[in-house]
Point group: C2
């Protein structure tokens, strides 16, 4: 892996916000119940990813005979922090969709899209 | 935008974790000061993105003559929640790097990589 990539990559987070926010911005095309189902599937996938990250927790990283505690855990830690924040937000959105506090009329029905 | 993509995209979050976690998993190749500088640049970029999202806050979305409050704001809300969580974590990592609580020897020096 190139040094330049490692140095530049962290500073350019915009390239990392891909599909999901784009999908969110087009929610009006779907019915609330449809997006609620999709978000619940996302919740389950993220919960599984979190559980896997918790299970993989190593206590250190060995390289050239030296143990580096902490550093190698940053990736897991990052994913845990970001995924936990997203899950909390997803739960609140799914709650609002289920209760009807958040609702809209789908702009494009299944028939329209064909 | 295809209905199928909108329905399937939210449920497949794994494809959305791209460069940054991968870079984190290779931190040992860089010196602590180098990655500290890179993370501080990331902090500044994310802070700017957050400020922009706060400024863009609309109060509703008008489609076919009807105002849909809330729904159109989900994308901004999502980015705010996830970016805020990441920033909090980045600040703690940068603090630990500056204080020396988190450190390591770079496995690959600038010369090695050429």
């Amino acid at each position: 892996m190139a040094r330049e990539w490692l140095l530049d990559m962290p500073a350019t987070p915009k390239e990392e916000f891909p599909g999901f926010p784009a999908a969110l911005s087009h929610l009006l095309m779907l019915a609330p119940q449809e997006i609620c189902d999709a978000l619940e599937r996302r919740v389950r996938t993220l919960e599984e990813a979190l559980a896997a990250a918790d299970l993989s927790g190593e206590s250190g990283y060995d390289i050239r005979g030296t143990t580096f505690p902490g550093v190698a855990l940053l990736e897991d830690e990052y994913l845990r922090v970001v995924v936990a924040a997203e899950l909390q937000w997803l739960w609140s959105v799914v709650d609002d969709l289920r209760s009807g506090d958040l609702t809209w009329s789908a702009a494009i029905s299944a028939e329209d899209s064909e």
